[in-house]
Symmetry: C2
Subunit: 197 residues, 2 copies
């Protein structure tokens, strides 16, 4: 019993995610999480200093699942241009899935965005880092050519340029008709901006 029921951070995160999914960020309480685990709320505070820390840890895990899925595209063997296009499409698809399938966790994520949480900054850094890896390879192979710009700066520019298709502030627009055509037009423009003549 002791081993199976041991109260670990992992189990707490699992329960918190479930509670957030059910109640949303506005209604979920630490007492709810404790109740779901069959412990007192004091025990939860033994593992997470504040409710905010708990929310951030859950969101980080949730965002990291996306980063990990995308890192598969970065590591692919296709030409960088193709990989970049695929990576952007998968990011867009992943974000859309997140709003659709997990609206309450998405709302939690948006709360952290509003607070400029470090978790969100980290996620952005993760993603631009992946972009920079693809762009770096493209520059090395001569497939990409912009002179005088580092992969990091270009990655940031590409990330900013495509914000409408991954920034949660725009989530409402992701269901509008024509959004896919607009995505394609924008990605075409960006890829042309990177490509060697």
């Amino acid at each position: 019993m002791a081993t199976i029921d041991a109260l670990t951070p992992e189990r707490i995160l699992e329960a918190t995610e479930e509670v957030l999914r059910r109640h949303g960020p506005a209604k979920a309480t630490v007492v709810d999480v404790a109740r779901a685990l069959g412990v007192s709320h004091g025990s939860v505070y033994r593992h997470f200093r504040t409710k905010t820390a708990l929310r951030e840890a859950v969101t980080q895990r949730w965002l990291d699942r996306t980063s990990m899925a995308l890192s598969g595209v970065v590591a692919g063997s296709e030409p960088p241009g193709t990989r970049l296009r695929r990576w952007l499409a998968e990011l867009f698809a992943a974000k859309r899935r997140k709003v659709g399938d997990d609206p309450e966790l998405f709302a939690t994520y948006m709360v952290l965005v509003g607070e400029s949480s470090a978790v969100v900054n980290r996620h952005r850094a993760d993603l631009t880092g992946q972009l920079a890896r693809i762009i770096h390879e493209g520059l090395e192979r001569g497939e990409f050519a912009p002179a005088g710009a580092s992969p990091e700066v270009l990655a940031r520019a590409v990330f900013d340029a495509t914000g409408r298709f991954h920034d949660p502030a725009y989530a409402r627009e992701w269901a509008e008709p024509g959004i896919d055509a607009e995505f394609t037009a924008l990605v075409d423009l960006v890829l042309r901006g990177l490509a060697a003549p």
Copy 2:
């Protein structure tokens, strides 16, 4: 007296703008506007059906001032690439000035954005229309080259790509250090995407 004091839509808009500037969108009331004009609030409703219509009319006027200033750039005689760059820089500068100088009217504008008001859509259409004019000329002259895309589609792509530097949702970031370098990097990328090889 009758002529000078005539209650016109124009005078009401003037007074409303002043009241909004002083109290902000959350506190400004129609009675405040009426008081500022020395009339009863019933008289204000004779010219504007609802408070929302009043807010929208004020915001439209305020946004139109920006559109008009930018249309000067569209009509310029420089090469389209230069004009496009200048136009984007002026849009960014204008939006930054608006947040800085008129925070309460900017907040009013953001309320309309949140409500997906027709005024905001119109403003966006105005701006992408101006972009399309510049791009159309660039294509005609052979300075721009993307195959198979209309000026309208390209304009929309350029507008979306630069959202971080004109969309009010990002206003908080416009004061961060390094923002100008990021703006330049993004505009360079976009212009490269449009340019003929």
